[in-house]
């Protein structure tokens, strides 16, 4: 008979090994639909690998794709650490992007050294404001933030469409629902010639490093972890639980807002309603894959970006659907969740005694 028993404590090897193993298992499982699609499996994976690491350009494309995922991954990881379930990074991302184009497209014609920090600050503030409301509803009235943040995404998306048809619409845009381009001095500089990878990546990495440091070494991080691990004990020990939750909500929303800033001011230059192919939601997968550690978020974002970019290349070369990338991402989340179960429980076989 098979039974399930809790483990004393997950080992260090497991906390690192399980996400890695989950990623590998997810890739392996993706071979099944790949085979059904009629593609040769090993050449397809070789193409996928080549599509990321084959050239400097493809590698830089992967980094470009990873940049918003680091931001949204951090947004989810920090909030989830405090058991604050921010599912609204997608909406907060668009709020950040809207703020960026609102002040970056000509309202203020000032040098880059002033304009760029202003765009970044306003974008982060807009994202933070987007998360402040659900946080307030949660701490005041106990409203479930999963519901409020998720539904707010759709409200913000409709608000975005309204803005792109109205005040933010580019008068020179031939009627397309898109914003005017951000001024050149308001754009995040690119890192390499003829490549799209931009300095938003540097910002993301710096923030991830700061987040990792603050989470482990600061009193703020201590309180955050305490609230997340056991809110009752944290409250008993005199930690302001609501304050901590509100604080991390602001930071989480701000980080998601930065993802929007980085996409619009680093990559696209102007805002459309399809700026993000679900970076906000994918950020949740990134955070889970990272075990909610900021340093892990960077690695997980690189992995998921590789899957996306690699699958794109594979689908072009092999003629299979690029939806395979979504499949791998979804399966790695499932594998992490299953892996988390194995980290906490052991399955043992017991022998029946003949009666």
């Amino acid at each position: 008979m098979i039974r399930i028993e809790p483990r004393a404590a997950p080992s260090r090897l497991m906390t690192v090994g399980i996400p890695v193993l989950s990623a590998v298992v997810a890739l392996a499982l993706a071979a099944i639909p790949l085979a059904f699609a009629g593609a040769p499996i090993f050449p397809a994976y070789a193409q996928m690998f080549h599509g990321v690491f084959g050239s400097m350009f493809s590698f830089s494309e992967m980094l470009t794709r990873a940049t918003p995922l680091i931001f949204t991954g951090l947004a989810a990881a920090l909030a989830f650490r405090a058991r604050l379930w921010n599912i609204g990074a997608e909406g907060q991302l668009y709020l950040g992007a809207m703020a960026a184009v609102a002040i970056g497209t000509g309202v203020l014609d000032i040098p880059a050294i002033f304009l760029l920090p202003l765009i970044i600050t306003f974008g982060a503030a807009a994202g933070a404001a987007g998360m402040a409301l659900p946080a307030l509803l949660k701490t005041r009235f106990g409203a479930d933030e999963v519901v409020t943040t998720l539904l707010l995404n759709f409200i913000i998306l409709i608000f975005l469409q309204m803005m792109l048809e109205g005040p933010l619409k580019d008068p020179m845009g031939l009627g397309w629902p898109q914003s005017a381009p951000i001024l050149d001095q308001g754009m995040l500089p690119t890192l390499m010639d003829r490549m799209r990878v931009h300095s938003g990546l540097i910002l993301a990495l710096v923030i991830a490093a700061i987040a990792q440091f603050m989470l482990i070494r600061s009193v703020w991080g201590f309180r955050l972890r305490a609230v997340g691990e056991n809110a009752a004990a944290a409250r008993h020990a005199g930690i302001g639980v609501k304050r901590s939750l509100f604080g991390v909500a602001i930071i989480s929303g701000g980080l998601a807002g930065l993802a929007g800033v980085s996409e619009v001011a680093g990559l696209k230059g102007y805002l459309t309603a399809d700026l993000s192919p679900g970076f906000g939601y994918t950020g949740i997968v990134v955070a889970m894959l990272a075990g909610l550690s900021p340093a892990g978020v960077v690695l997980a974002a690189l992995f998921i970006a590789s899957v996306f970019v690699g699958a794109d290349s594979m689908s072009r070369a092999m003629g299979v659907s690029s939806y395979l990338a979504d499949l791998v991402v979804a399966m790695s989340l499932l594998c992490v969740l299953v892996g988390g179960f194995f980290a906490r429980y052991r399955i043992t076989r017991s022998v029946r005694v003949a009666s």
Partner: protein, 511 residues
Amino acid sequence: MQKVLSLNGLTKRFGTVLANDAVDLDLHKGEVLALLGENGAGKTTLMNMLFGHYMPDDGTVDVADRSGHMAPLPLGHPQAALAAGIGMVHQHFTLAENLNALDNIVLGAEPLTRIRRDRRRARAKIEQIMKSSGLIAPLDVRVGQLSVGERQRVEILKALYRDARILVLDEPTAVLTPQEADALFENIGAMTGDGLSVIFISHKLREVLAFSTRIAVLRHGVKVGEIATADADEKVIARMMVGADTPVATRDKMTPGAPVLQLKGVSVRGNSKRDSLSDITLTVHQHEVVGIAGVSGNGQTALAGLISGLGRADNGMIVIDGVEIPRPDPKVMITAGVGRIPEDRHHDGIIGAMSVADNMVIERLDDPEIQSYGLLNRAAIRANADRLIKDYDVRGPGAEAGARLLSGGNIQKLILARVFEQNPRLILANQPTRGLDMGAAADVARRLLEARARGAGIVLISEDLDEVLGLADRILVIHDGQLHEAGTRDRQAIGLMMAGELAGELTKEPT
């Protein structure tokens, strides 16, 4: 005497911990066997193996069938244990609160495939059992509305309804008043007369000596002794349990000093009776232990919440050290010099996923010794932990290990270390020794009395009357949200007050 059960060399390992090491145990018909041992000695593990919750790594169990013939029990199957006539009543009840007592008793004993339920026959059978055992419970009342004692009787009836011939009770009296406990053992006595055999796990030496026929003692997973109760006394079993004589904390007489805590006409209107207080008045002085005796659910939660800062009073005043606290919260209370030992140490006392060292400083994160400019001083936190672990003898895998890896007693030591290190003016000790073994409980008592000698005032809330009698300078009884001066140290009189009977003249404590 006829043997009904024998455990042969049962062994269970959890990881590297040997919870039970080749334990042999026999039970005879009509016997009441007390299973004694310190916390973590492996008593519950042993019983869980018997009942099929855990799969032993080694060993066998033989049970007598109805005709008295011993047969091996298939291990790891609660259903098999039930079928063999073994019933278990867990420390934490496993009842569905939204169903009535009858349905709870019958639940799971009916075949799934039958469409209609035969409630009348079930009721007749239960009433028959109630009559012969003396265990009376209202069958048509939702379990959520029953008292703890009634719930426990429902649990036992549940086992008897399944024709249990062997009944295992895990700490049955932990939640009962002395009178209820005595009544329970009377019923058990009646049932054993009818051929039931009972194993009960307990910490309380008094009841073990009074009501068992035989005593088996476990220590570190090994059965260290077995003795007929007639040949035993407290000293003998205590020595068997801990392997040495335990020092008994002695309480010297002390003169109370200035008041450190005054509650003046405080009322709390909670969501239910159990977290409400009505117009209570309480004064605690320096060098004084005030014991609050009472059955759980009579307002202790509200009182503790008030003193620890988790709750607010709707009326009345809280004064600490002569200063009124207008807006109490946990931080304000900590700053005012209140040390709090919470009732549920796992839930409120520690953050299991964080390290022992972190848990030791969690109440003083603003202390410049612990942090500077918002950054944790890791070295200081570690040094603090190493010192406290040594001073308070916190045993476990070390300062950096997760606090959840500690045993209950060591978690309590961690909390004591955290609290006493701040030299609190007032200490709230809410059920400080619940679930602790004798050694750890004696340690807690000694620490509390040390704090009293240093000049702290102590509020001791406890359901264990013996503990209150042993430690408190003054005893108050809490019942139904009201606090009354006991005015006596007589077990029987206080027990009656705990049950709500106003024995003799009761006066509210003068302010």
